[in-house]
Symmetry: C2
Subunit: 459 residues, 2 copies
Amino acid sequence: MFEFMTIRELYEMIQSQNHVELDSIEYVQLQGWVRTNRCNGKLGFIEFNDGTYFRNAQLVYMSELKNFDEVSHYRSGCALTVTGKFIQTPDGKQPFEIQLTESILEGDCDEDYPLQKKRHSFEYLREIAHLRPRANTYYALFRVRSVLSMAIHEFFQDQGFIYVHTPLITGNDGEGAGEMFKISTTSKEHSEEFFGKEAYMTVTGQLHVEAFAMAYRDVYTFGPAFRAEYSNTPVHASEFWMIEPEIAFADLNDNMNLIEDMIKYCIDYLLENAPEEMKFFNDMIDHEVNNRLNMLLNSEFKRMTYTEAIDILLKSGVKFENKVEWGMDLNREHERYICEQVVHGPVFLTDYPKDIKAFYMRLNDDGKTVAACDLLVPEVGELVGGSQREERYDVLKKRMDEMGMAQENLQWYMDLRRFGGCKHAGFGLGFDRFLMYLTGVSNIRDTEPFPRTPRNLNF
Amino acid sequence: MFEFMTIRELYEMIQSQNHVELDSIEYVQLQGWVRTNRCNGKLGFIEFNDGTYFRNAQLVYMSELKNFDEVSHYRSGCALTVTGKFIQTPDGKQPFEIQLTESILEGDCDEDYPLQKKRHSFEYLREIAHLRPRANTYYALFRVRSVLSMAIHEFFQDQGFIYVHTPLITGNDGEGAGEMFKISTTSKEHSEEFFGKEAYMTVTGQLHVEAFAMAYRDVYTFGPAFRAEYSNTPVHASEFWMIEPEIAFADLNDNMNLIEDMIKYCIDYLLENAPEEMKFFNDMIDHEVNNRLNMLLNSEFKRMTYTEAIDILLKSGVKFENKVEWGMDLNREHERYICEQVVHGPVFLTDYPKDIKAFYMRLNDDGKTVAACDLLVPEVGELVGGSQREERYDVLKKRMDEMGMAQENLQWYMDLRRFGGCKHAGFGLGFDRFLMYLTGVSNIRDTEPFPRTPRNLNF
């Protein structure tokens, strides 16, 4: 008799050193895919993966096997159901192997399988997005993407935050963050505007989630957003996922505490729940991964005003490519200098000039700056952007007037200030970029299952 | 000295009967919103909610309070920070009250606040979607929406499923489930097609998630989908959330087991994590809620083929509005008859005629039916639709040819069958409709934070 097992179960059992349980396993059945297969005519080895664990199981087959010849010709990619004897090999490269007693071909793999044993470039693998989750880097990455998603949900839900599905179709074309996609219907019958007005794909859920913070206190969104920017860079995608929490009765300091807590929670969670994958990233993709995660975990995130940062940059004596002056938007070189040369760790810059920030950020008493906070991290620069929101109706309206914003579509948002509005704050974290930062993967096209970028809509 | 507390913490402490802890609380501080305020000139009562719990806290204030007059004039909706003495009132309507020693107005509420104490119609409340989360029904509903979301994630993640963010922008206009929205860029500079081809908003993540099932075995999506149908009904929205799991090395029976397990898990989770809200729905919205949930929890979901169902309908002697014949798509009246009059509970109908089902469903050996399963439930009819997928390349291609489907955009999907494809199955559950069913709320416009429907894109 055999037991159906997953490769994860076998590895976890071995790691737990549960000898009673381990010794009770004689024959196991596995289902999965051939990664590699080699055979010397009498003895063969299959590296086998079933999708449940980062590491493979080694299948061993000998000429006694009924369909030895067939098995020896299995190509990479084949789907199998196998049964075999479970043998612990504590001195081997792998802690166990399976000596096959039966192998059934569930799905053959054609000869032109584009994912051969050799190392492929990321560029090549992007061309086969439907198959690349089977390649080591992506196999690790998309599991980490799933684990990190769950970390986000658990972090917020454990603290009583309400998850809000803010709408993706919006009538507001002025949410203030870049070019938008326009949507229309293909139906001839209803060729007038489907919604009775122009419709766009949202760039942020923030405005909508603020309404929910005024009912539930602590809320968050976690969903897709869109930008129709024609930017072919490693950090821009037309579709990406965003995390946008909003907290009521809270100011900029509460907001920064929340950001710091969330980041540390996520890192702990990843190290706990995807240790094999995180080790892979450190070994194979970016040797700084472990150092970076430890640095973040062990740092107290510093706080510094924008004005202090400008002073430091001016006094630094460094010749930056972009000239430093108060009122400018900081470039990546400035942000990295502050993090890497001054603070030597993560730092929140706060209180930016109002003219370079969004209309909804709370005006400080100086009349010149707003209660914004950007988290800067070494190597990357800005990772998170947040702010305390303007809760004073008159101040908000004046700001929108100054910026020439159409207000009729946003009257509901402004009215939140007239009906029991209170101080509140929130932030936005681009999930895909966060994933890049934590894994060391350097192109956003590699972090998304089927990335959408300009002139790229295959699959 | 006082302690900052939430209303949830106070209720949970009282429910846990932790007298040592309870007796140690003397003064507390709360932050939240006035639901109602009444005062007889000497003594006043505020029903107060802070967003953390379904029930309110009662605040009591007396003429000794410094700003008694101001407090007595607080309108519904005002945001406050209050401090007061915590008094247990085990014989009262509420288990505790707070005798105010201080009250600070954080945010005033204008006189034209549209959410007054009286009972408002759902139609009216839909017109103030930015404020309605503060009204009891929506306040309960959107918390339950959040709790149910987390139930879904925990159910799948606990079993090792990988969460996949399938793309929302797609180049496939033939995913086979209704009218699609078309997207374009508003940029003049890039007025040619942004993606180099026509782009649409997806109607399903299934095709994409199948690629991931061939790497990870068990996967799921949970995200938005879109339909450009001009249907003004209580169950159609232009934007909605879908759950789409996909399991490899699995057939239709495994799929039905997964559906049944998921539904029961979600119900248990809701009753455990949102008991106050679920009681509210049963008391105030639909007296069948408790019965329905218990019925689902305690039923073994039956299974019956489509052909058997047609026989039963033909022999029933009932005069249906829509004539019954083999090959027809069942109408709601037929589905309800089978559930309510024949099975008296939930039932999977399986093996539907291929001509009324999607191209990707596995052809049965009879050549006429496919391995589909629709879960029918009393009162509603179809709640979930799933199938085993066609894993045989030639059979799939023949089917697509017969249906006249353009294949060039779906070659990658077909190729999954050439490269280690194995038997697999999955299903789709409309999250918003599931939420309607579990709470008894009868219009999808009431289950979504900011619903999008034809000619309706306010907010």
